[in-house]
Structures are given as structure tokens and as C-alpha cells.
Symmetry: C2
Subunit: 221 residues, 2 copies
């Protein structure tokens, strides 16, 4: 199951704080995403690591703090992906489409992240509030949107009355819904929103939607 990458030590345990912590976080991410906060079992997380429950409390303090740490890491990943984005050489329309597609791709590739965010919302974002790290963590995507939006609006190409935060909400909502509500939507409407065969269709649909909204002809007033 797990790839053998530890130096073949005959029997005794190997001490590696960093690896133990990372392993706990990996398994905890899966377990929380699988069952929700209250449905997740600390014992189950421990059982699926090479260490014991004792270490979860040793390193993280408790179930609440463990979930917070899981969230912090998950948000860190998307922030990193956003930082890779380089659209300064593109015109506003292409740049927005590129940004939307990056969000689309990331959400699709990280369904566990989506589930964690859904779970955190059920609990009123109390873990985000309790985390210093998440408060400080800005959003590179927002900065990018701000720049693109300014350029597009100044040139008269973008006619919509939105700011960066609202546009980010619009893009995220489509990407998020598709992954988060896959189960109920599929059960009720018999359509798998994450079917690979429909992936390009939805990816284009998102871009078309955002561009159409931003560039639509509007009554002057």
C-alpha cells in the first residue's frame, strides 16, 4: 500500500517528528473529508498512520486543533497554486479566462479541500477564526483579479459593476458547487457534474459565463 521509502531499519521504530506530523495531517485530511468533523474518528486516524493516537494529542493538542491544522494546510495549497499564476502578458479577457480555469482545475483536483470547506461552513468557520495563520494568509487570486479588472474597466472592455471580491465569488461558486454538490445533484437530476466527458464543456461554460457577464453591452446610465 504505502511506498517503502524509509531506510530499511531492521525492526525498531524510527523517530521523525516531521514525517509523523505530515502523516497524521494526510490521514486526518482524508478522514475529516470522508465523514465530517463530528463523524471523523480520532482512533481511526491514528489506526491509519504508523503512529498512535497519543501522538496526535502530543503534536496537535486535540481534535479541534487537528482540524484547524488540516484546514491551514489545505488553504495553503490553493494559495500556492494561485501564486503560480502569471497572466500579466495576457489581455484582460484571456487573463480572466485563465484565472477562472485555474480555479476550475484546482477545485476539481482537490475534492477533499472542497469537502473541508463545506464542513467548516457547517461549523460557522470557527476554526478559521481560531487560526492566526489563516487570518494572515491573503489571497493571491484576489490581487490578480484586481489588476485584471482595473485594466479591463479602464479600457472600457469590461462594463460590469463588480469588484474583485464579487468576481471571485462568482467564479468560485460555479467551481465549488460542481464538486461540492456532485452527490445530491447527481442523485436528483441524474447528471454527474464531474463526469470527465463533460469536463471541457463545463470549463468552457464557466469562462463564457464570466466573460459574457463582464463584457455585456449595458444601458448607459
Amino acid at each position: 500500500m504505502t511506498s517503502v521509502d524509509e531506510p530499511a531499519r531492521p525492526n525498531g521504530r524510527i523517530r521523525d517528528a516531521a514525517r509523523t506530523q505530515a502523516e497524521i495531517l494526510d490521514v486526518a485530511t482524508q478522514e475529516f473529508a470522508r465523514a465530517g468533523y463530528d463523524g471523523a474518528r480520532v482512533d481511526e486516524i491514528a489506526a491509519r498512520t504508523r503512529t498512535t493516537k497519543r501522538m496526535i494529542y502530543y503534536y496537535f493538542g486535540g481534535k479541534e486543533q487537528l482540524f484547524t491544522a488540516v484546514l491551514e494546510r489545505a488553504y495553503g495549497v490553493i494559495r500556492e497554486a494561485e501564486q503560480q499564476l502569471d497572466v500579466d502578458h495576457l489581455d484582460p479577457v484571456a487573463a480572466i479566462r485563465r484565472l477562472a480555469e485555474l480555479t476550475f482545475d484546482h477545485h476539481e483536483q482537490h475534492p477533499d479541500f472542497i469537502r473541508l470547506v463545506s464542513i467548516e461552513n457547517i461549523h460557522g468557520a470557527e476554526h478559521i477564526a481560531a487560526s492566526e495563520k489563516l487570518g494572515r494568509m491573503g489571497s493571491p487570486a484576489l490581487d490578480v483579479i484586481r489588476r485584471i479588472l482595473a485594466a479591463g474597466q479602464e479600457s472600457g472592455l469590461f462594463t460590469a459593476d463588480v469588484d474583485a471580491v464579487d468576481l471571485h465569488a462568482m467564479i468560485s461558486s460555479f467551481c465549488f458547487f460542481r464538486v461540492a454538490n456532485r452527490a445530491t445533484f447527481g442523485a436528483l437530476f441524474d447528471r454527474d457534474l464531474v463526469d470527465p466527458a463533460r469536463r471541457e464543456h463545463y470549463r468552457a461554460m464557466l469562462g463564457d459565463m464570466v466573460i459574457a457577464y463582464l463584457t455585456a453591452e449595458r444601458a448607459t446610465g
Copy 2:
């Protein structure tokens, strides 16, 4: 707290199966929405009704079936609202906007419903799968969208390559996200998506987005 609407019977308990069941469903809806499926407490639900835990098991069988019953009722409410919709006298553009606004309003007015759906998605829609009622329950909104879309596409007014299910997903995603992710979005970006002061702005934004997408000028292909 609760309005006094029972016939002032001096002391003894009053037997009313329908009222007892309805009361259990009301409280269970709140409790599940508050804490999630596993976070919800059967004892807590019982304590907040005028009956006892025994009756929950008597009428519903167990926690799982209770949650299923809660979901069935919640979906029933939105289906009913959708059936009130009458847009046959409107042109396609106005009709779509009306439909989008109805979805927007219903989502905003029923945050508990949104939370229940989020919770159900965390659990892979297993309760919907277990419910016969929810399988049979169609979607009036989908029928309406189908009719509007056909009219709009035939007249050449709508240029987008979407069917009713996809358009429903697009509209829902914006309405759903705004309510479902209010907590995390607010915590991270310091913007309350459900702030009443911004309500009209987002309502218009949704309509503009959908209309712009449907009517955008497209390269003929």
C-alpha cells in the same frame, strides 16, 4: 417562544400524532442544520420538543430515517415554491430572470435547507438514495427552464449551448454558494455575502450573469 395554539387542556398530555411528528421534524431540521448529521443529538432534539426521544424512534425508526424525513420535507418546500412560478406570459429574457430571482430568494430565505443539502453531500447523498419520495419528486424548475430555453433558442435570442440541467446548475451554484459559504468567505475575505445591504446588488448580478451568458454574441461555428 412557541405560540400557544393547543386547546387549553388543564394538565394531562394531548395525543396528536400529526402534530407530534411535525414538531419533531421542525426541531430536527434545526438541530441537523446546526450541527451536521453526526453532530446532531437525538436527545437534544427530543428535549426541545414537547414529547420524548421514545417518539422519535416510534415514528421515524432512527436517526438516519429522521434525517431522511427532514430532507424530504425540505425538498418538498422548494418544489412547492417552484410550482408557484408562472412565467409563460413573459419573454424569455424576463422569464429567466424571474426564475433566477425565485431561486435566489428561496435560498436566502431557507439557510437551513442549504445546510441540510451541504450535509447530505458530505455523506454522499445516501439518504436521498434511500428515499423513494425524493427519487420520484421531479423538479418543476427544470420543466420551466426547458420551456423558456426552447423558446429563447428557437427565436435566436439565446445563443448559448446549454440544456436545462446545466443552466439550473449555473443558477443554483451562485445562489447556493452565497448562503452555504457565507461563513468561510466572510472570515477570509471580510465580505458578508448575505448582508441585506448588498442583497439587491447580488440579485441583479445573478440575473445579469445568466442573461449575458445566454445572449452573448458568439462566433458562428
